[in-house]
C-alpha cells in the first residue's frame, strides 16, 4: 500500500521524458550551443567541487608543504596524523557531541511534530482549523528580529541552555505544509474506513497515516537534520558556555585563532614520544582544514543518499506553491 502511495510523489522518474523533449536535428549553431553549455556547466561544477577536494588533499599532505599553499591537484606525502591530532584540541570532542545531540534530538522532535501537525491540520472537523493553520504558516513570513528574539529568549532563561537548540525548531511551518499536502493526497477512504471501525484520531495517526507518510517524513528528517547540524546563529546569540558550543561555532573560532591551537597541539606532541617531523607538525592551516573536513564530513557522507529525497521534497512544496 505504502509503495503505491509513494508514487504519488512526483520524482525524477519524469526525467526520462526530458530526453525525448530534446531530440531535434542538430544544426551547426545547435552544436556550438551544446559545446558552450557543456563547458560552462563543467566549469561551474568544478568550482563547486574543487574547494572540498583541495581541502581534503591538503589535510592528508605533508603539513609544511600544505602550509605554503603548494598542494593544488594531488596530495603530497600522504599521512593521517592531522586527524589524530585535532582531537587533542580541548573542546572539539565535546562540540561534536553537542552537534550530534542537537541533530538527533532536534530532528526527532521536529519530524514527530511535523508529522502530527501536518496530519491534524488535514482534519477538517478540528475546531478553528483554518485559524490555527494560518497562525502557524504566517510565521514563515515575519519575525521580530534577532535582537528582540535574543532578549526574549534570555528572559525565558534559554541562554546557555541546550533546550534553546531543540525547542524553537519543533514547530516548523514549512515541514508541516509538506506533510499536510502529502496527507491530503492520500485517499480519504483510508481514514474514513478506520473511523467506522471505531479507530480514534490518535489510532488513525499512529497506525495508518504515520506508516504511509514515511517517504515525506524521510525528506523532512533530512532537511531538519541538515538545518540542525549547520546551525550557527543560535549558538552565537544564546551560548557563552564552552560546554554547549557546537562544531560550527568552534570551527568559526578556530578559523580566527588556529595559530595558538597549533602551537598547543605541537607542545603536547613534543611532550610525548611522537616524532614531530615537519611534515606532521601542526600548522595553522592544517588545524583549520582538518577541523573543516570533520565538520563537513557528515554532510558529504550522507549527501549521495539524501539527494534523491530532497528533490521529491521540494517538488511537493512547489505543488503547494
Amino acid at each position: 500500500m505504502s509503495d503505491n502511495l509513494a508514487e504519488l510523489v512526483p520524482d525524477m522518474a519524469h526525467q526520462s521524458r526530458l530526453d525525448k523533449k530534446t531530440s531535434y536535428k542538430m544544426s551547426a549553431t545547435d552544436k556550438f550551443i551544446s559545446v558552450v553549455i557543456y563547458t560552462l556547466f563543467s566549469l561551474f561544477a568544478l568550482i563547486c567541487v574543487y574547494p572540498f577536494y583541495s581541502i581534503i588533499i591538503n589535510t592528508i599532505s605533508a603539513n609544511d608543504i600544505s602550509a605554503r599553499g603548494d598542494v593544488v591537484f594531488f596530495p603530497k606525502h600522504i599521512h593521517f596524523q592531522n586527524y589524530i591530532d585535532v582531537f587533542k584540541i580541548p573542546g572539539l570532542g565535546n562540540a561534536a557531541l553537542v552537534s550530534l545531540g542537537r541533530t538527533v534530538i532536534g530532528t526527532s522532535l521536529t519530524v514527530g511534530a511535523s508529522a502530527f501537525l501536518g496530519f491534524m491540520f488535514s482534519q477538517e472537523d478540528m475546531w478553528a482549523r483554518k485559524f490555527w493553520y494560518r497562525f502557524t504558516v504566517i510565521t514563515m513570513f515575519f519575525n521580530a528580529g534577532i535582537i528582540p528574539w535574543y532578549l526574549t529568549m534570555r528572559s525565558l532563561h534559554l541562554t546557555n541552555n541546550f533546550l534553546a537548540y531543540v525547542l524553537p525548531t519543533i514547530v516548523a511551518p514549512f515541514f508541516i505544509i509538506l506533510v499536510k499536502t502529502f496527507v491530503e493526497s492520500t485517499p480519504k477512504e483510508l481514514q474514513q474506513a478506520a473511523a467506522i471501525d471505531g479507530a480514534g484520531v490518535m489510532t488513525i495517526f499512529f497506525r495508518i497515516m504515520l506508516p504511509i507518510c514515511k517517504p515525506i517524513l524521510a525528506t523532512v528528517a533530512i532537511f531538519a537534520a541538515v538545518d540542525q547540524w549547520n546551525s550557527f546563529q543560535d549558538t552565537l546569540l544564546l551560548v557563552t558556555d564552552n560546554n554547549l558550543y557546537s562544531l560550527q561555532f568552534i570551527l568559526y573560532n578556530y578559523i580566527n585563532q588556529a595559530s595558538s591551537l597549533s602551537t598547543m597541539v605541537n607542545l603536547q606532541n613534543a611532550g610525548s614520544t611522537a616524532m614531530s617531523s615537519l611534515s606532521t607538525k601542526q600548522t595553522t592551516t592544517s588545524i583549520r582544514m582538518t577541523v573543516t573536513i570533520i565538520v563537513v564530513a557528515p554532510i558529504l557522507l550522507i549527501y549521495p543518499i539524501f539527494q534523491r529525497f530532497f528533490v521529491k521534497g521540494i517538488m511537493i512544496g512547489a505543488v503547494k506553491g
Binding site: F41, I47, W127, F135, I138, I146, L151, M153, V201
Partner: protein
C-alpha cells in the same frame, strides 16, 4: 454519521495540537514583545523594569543624530546594493535550469545537478572556511598565482574592502544556484509533451523551442519567486555577512541584519538596535502585503 460527538471530537482535536501552538506562540509570537525595549533606555545589567521610559527617542535619533544617520545610510546602501544584485540576477537559476535540461547525456546532467546542489547544504561558517582556505594570503589561490609567477606578494582577497557586494553575491550564487534551479527543473518537467511535439512539427529550432515553449511555462514560477525575493528585500540574513566581516570590509559588508547585531551584541546599544529591527520587520510586512496584492492583481492569485 457519529453526529452526537462531533462537537467534542472537534474540540479534542484542537486540544491535541494546543501544546504545539503554545510552543509556536512562545518562539514566533512572544519575541514581538521584545520590541518594547525600543521605547526604554535599556543598558544590560539594569533590568528593563528599572530602565527609564523614553518614548520615541531612539526612533528620532535615527533621523536626528548625524553620526547615526550616516551609519544607517551606509548600511541601507549596502542592503540595497546586495539585495539589488540578487534581484538583478534572479533569472540566473531559471536559465541554469533551461540549459541544464538541454543536456542530453543523462549521466552528465545528473552529475552536474548533484554537484552544483551540494554547496547549498553546507553552513556559512563552512563556506567561510572554504573561502579562507582558497583565498587567504597563504591560501591555495595565492599559492597557484605564486607558482605561476603571476604575483610577488599575496593578494588579500578577504580583507579587501573593494567589490564586497559583488563577492558576497558570488558566494551566495555559488552556494544557492544549483539548488534554486531545482524548482525550475520541476516546472520544465511539468511541460506538456504535446507542446514540444507541436513545435517539432512546425520545424522549430532548439532556441525557438526554448523561447516559445520552455520560457513561457516557467514565468509563473519565476514571478512567484521574484515577488518573494522582493518581500525579503531587507532580510539578507546575518550569518553570511557575520562570518565574512572583518575590520577592513566592515563598512561595505554591514547589511541591516548585521548592523543590528553589531549594535547590540558588539556595542551594547540594545534599544536602538531593537528600534531598527522593529522598523525593518514592519517595512518587510508592508512589502509582503504589497507584492501579494500585486500578485492578486496581475495573476488573480495570492502568493502567501
Amino acid at each position: 454519521m457519529l453526529k452526537y460527538n462531533t462537537r467534542s471530537t472537534s474540540i479534542r482535536k484542537f486540544l491535541y495540537i494546543a501544546p504545539f501552538m503554545a510552543l509556536l506562540f512562545i518562539f514566533a509570537y512572544y519575541p514581538l514583545y521584545g520590541w518594547v525595549y525600543a521605547f526604554f533606555d535599556y543598558t544590560p545589567p539594569i533590568p528593563l523594569s528599572d530602565s527609564p521610559f523614553v518614548g520615541l527617542q531612539w526612533f528620532r535619533s535615527l533621523v536626528e543624530n548625524q553620526v547615526k544617520v550616516d551609519q544607517l545610510l551606509q548600511v541601507i546602501k549596502n542592503t540595497f546594493g546586495m539585495s539589488g544584485l540578487t534581484l538583478l540576477f534572479s533569472w540566473l537559476p531559471m536559465v541554469f535550469a533551461i540549459f541544464l535540461t538541454e543536456i542530453k547525456a543523462v549521466r552528465f546532467r545528473k552529475f552536474i545537478q548533484t554537484v552544483t546542489t551540494l554547496p547549498n547544504f553546507i553552513s556559512w561558517v563552512l563556506v567561510y572556511s572554504l573561502a579562507f582556505s582558497m583565498f587567504s594570503s597563504e591560501g591555495i589561490v595565492n599559492g597557484m598565482l605564486r607558482q605561476l609567477g603571476l604575483t610577488d606578494a599575496p593578494i588579500l582577497f578577504l580583507q579587501s574592502a573593494d567589490h564586497v557586494w559583488l563577492t558576497m553575491w558570488m558566494w551566495t550564487t555559488w552556494k544557492a544556484l544549483g539548488w534554486s534551479a531545482i524548482l525550475y527543473i520541476a516546472a520544465i518537467m511539468g511541460i506538456d509533451d504535446s507542446l514540444y511535439e507541436a513545435a517539432h512539427v512546425d520545424g522549430a529550432t532548439r532556441m525557438q523551442v526554448i523561447r516559445h515553449v520552455v520560457l513561457p511555462s516557467m514565468l509563473p514560477t519565476y514571478f512567484v519567486l521574484l515577488m518573494l525575493q522582493i518581500a525579503s528585500f531587507l532580510n539578507n540574513g546575518l550569518e553570511q555577512y557575520f562570518v565574512f566581516q572583518n575590520a577592513f570590509n566592515k563598512d561595505s559588508i554591514q547589511v541591516l541584519d548585521l548592523y543590528v547585531y553589531n549594535l547590540a551584541m558588539g556595542g551594547g546599544s540594545y534599544s536602538v538596535s531593537v528600534a531598527i529591527s522593529m522598523l525593518k520587520s514592519l517595512i518587510s510586512v508592508v512589502l509582503l502585503f504589497s507584492v501579494n496584492g500585486l500578485s492578486k492583481m496581475l495573476r488573480g492569485e495570492s502568493i502567501v
